[in-house]
Amino acid sequence: MKKINYLEIEGRSSGFIALLGILGIIALAGIGAFIYMEHSGHHVTGMDNQIVWGMPHVFAIFLIVAASGALNVASIGTVFNKAIYKPLGRLSVLMAIALLAGGLMVLLLDLGRPDRLIVAMTYYNFKSIFAWNIILYNGFFAVTIVYLWMMMEKRMVPYYRPAGIAAFIWRLILTTGTGSIFGFLVARSAFDAAIMAPMFIIMSFSFGLAIFLLILMLGYQWTERPLGDAIVKRLKNLLGIFVAAVLYFTLAYHLTNLYATEHHDVEKFILAGDSIHTTLFWIVEILIGGIIPLAIIYSKFSTSRTWLGLATIMIIIGGLAKIYVIVIGGQAFPLEIFPGMEVISSTFGDANSYHIYNPSTPEFILGISGVAVAILIITMGVRVLKFMPESLADADVDPHNKG
Amino acid sequence: MKYLHMMLAMLIVVLFGSTTIMADVPSPTIPKGNAEKCVLPTEEMRVNHMTKILHQRDETMRKGIRTEQFSLKKCINCHVVKDDAGKAVSHKDERHFCNSCHTYAAVKIDCFECHASKPNARKKVSATAGGKD
């Protein structure tokens, strides 16, 4: 195997400038949306006292979940010693850091009192899974940056594997923590399930790898660096397994719920209701985000980079829909405050069959700006530091490749 | 950030308050309270009012201790500033007692995001009320 040569991208083309410009505009629009929401108060959003977490949280949770998943590629190389993945390690860690930063930014800017960040950092309630997550997120930055350093600094090579293992374990705990934010909500019919945490881990594998593969393919195409089929094939096969696993966990989650009579109503609401959540679940999450990409990945179409890219985009959109159904759908279904009773009237919306959420434009812009910031960090990262191997052609990365 | 502001402001107060050399520097006009004297000597309050209020805040919030000496409600009641029409001004008005100095020192305060910035005592309806003020 040849020595891998990492190199910054040139970043002088008009395409590169245009990419930065577009991302910058979206990011700025996000800041504008934040200032508007923060100045007016949350009354300008679609959120209210029933749907307390909205569009920003869908994006934030998606990005945070995907962040830990994006680190997987590096972990496979380091922890499981798969040589072919090693050249991708640096890019993988960069993406993990960038996605987490984007997600946290959105989460933070949606707070009722974002000016009190210092309070969130200094007052801890250790019984709160949320407080643990603050520590886990900060720790993730620290652990991955050390990992990256060990990876890029020659004299640190002896410590490279332990750092990789630490990062791998940390990311598993982190995603468990993110999933538990919902799993611990005992009163909400849709959330109260232990399967939430492992399901979030497998979701992170899938979303993170889909984003990684998409950016890898685009990055190598735009910079006109060679990217061999061997590595793409490995990654897409792995992605196929993850997508199938997410479908399996989704099936297990709903089947378990369907078994318990007390959860029949919420299952009916999600699976066979007349709200947007049913459409999102079947059409976007399952069909577009699961079955079609699986079919592409395991068919001859997958030899086409365009089709494969399309599949990853579908997985990303399906993933956003999945988080939407979990977060918003779970809140839209009314709380079961009086089991066995029907609420005839209430001044606080308890009598609705389900709550309707109409996300406002600023919320959506804030959410999407998190994605833009993440991609911006990745773009700037590969521009200024040696993250991307000059060549990922088959002969350069795969020692067994004959071609 | 906030603490930095506070420290800066304190520095300004100490520097400008203790020196007579800079006599031509404009100083804030601080309205007088409506009682004979404050709960502590004015000099002490000027420097330490925030720590007193902060301490009292936690005592009241967490433990239900509602002594009157450093109660924000009492501060507001005594230091009320009235406009030309005789109505108490709110924190949105630059003549408000707190603003008179905080605007000068450029120290943002968060209190009145939640707390009432002017007296609005409601009439006691309880039969047992009265007897003390």
């Binding site: 007016s40 009354h43 006292n49 009722g112 405050i337 | 005592e59 967490r62 201790i65």
Partner: protein, 257 residues
């Protein structure tokens, strides 16, 4: 100095009333206010877990369509002081609400007020990242708005949907009830009334209003004081906690549900 006299007076009254209540409480069944006064504390003493404020709501006495408790709460806490004009209906704060229910099996209809249940094991306190949501020694579950960052996780966790988020700037807060944009709030059992000293301590506004209307559907008092009206009623009659299956041991109990 008048200020220094207050605690002294408070203690002496408290001792006196404490002694008399022990004898009076046995004989006077309706001595609600007397007994409650005995439980009050001087202004300079912290609340203690020797007492736990609680509420017993009799749904049989609660009139369908009546909103006296809600109106009284709104007025007492400044929820209708002219703020929240920009917020939509679902965004406005509500600390206590009236709910009309029908038993799916028997068609029996009931009406009841629903408010923060002041749980012994409150999920909102467990999930709060900064500890702003907290339980006071005397059982009140409150939000410390000084440290609330507005993440709304407590609203996700509360099984009773008892909390409201403030969606816009407020300008007409009452001096006893601080509330503001970007923070979460809920029923405080009118803590500013409970914390008054011996002479001025009063029941929460909703309780007073319900009594004034002649419904007498809500009894308020110290659940740890065996002689209090609420303790005696709880001991005598069957009562239920809403979502008792969650084992949160709420401080609000119901009869007739």
């Amino acid at each position: 100095m008048n200020k220094q006299e207050i605690p002294v007076q408070g203690i002496s009254r408290r001792k006196f009333l404490g002694a008399s209540a022990a004898t009076a409480g046995i004989g006077i069944a309706s001595g609600v206010s007397l007994i409650n006064i005995a439980n009050a504390k001087p202004l300079d003493e912290p609340v203690s877990n020797d007492q736990r404020w609680g509420m017993l709501i009799d749904a049989n006495k609660c009139a369908s369509g009546c909103t006296s408790c809600v109106d009284a709460c709104n007025t007492e806490n400044g929820l209708n002081a002219g703020d929240e004009q920009l917020s939509r209906q679902g965004q406005k704060a509500q600390w206590i609400r009236k709910v009309e229910l029908r038993d799916k099996a028997t068609q029996h209809e009931i009406s009841l007020p629903l408010l923060c249940q002041h749980c012994e094991n409150p999920p909102c306190v467990d999930v709060c990242p900064t500890g702003a949501s907290f339980k006071r020694e005397d059982g009140l579950v409150l939000v410390d708005k000084h440290t609330c960052i507005g993440c709304r996780y407590c609203m996700m966790a509360c099984p009773y949907k008892a909390r409201s988020f403030i969606h816009e700037e407020l300008l007409n807060q009452l001096e006893d009830v601080p509330r503001g944009k970007g923070t979460v709030e809920s029923c405080t059992f009118c803590v500013h009334r409970l914390d008054e000293d011996t002479d001025n301590r009063r029941d929460p506004a909703c309780v007073e209003a319900c009594n004034a209307d002649g419904h007498q559907a809500i009894i308020f008092g110290d659940m740890k004081d065996a002689n209090s009206a609420i303790s005696q009623q709880l001991k005598k009659h069957t009562s239920k906690a809403i979502r008792a299956d969650l084992k949160l041991n709420p401080g609000v109990r119901y009869r007739g549900i």
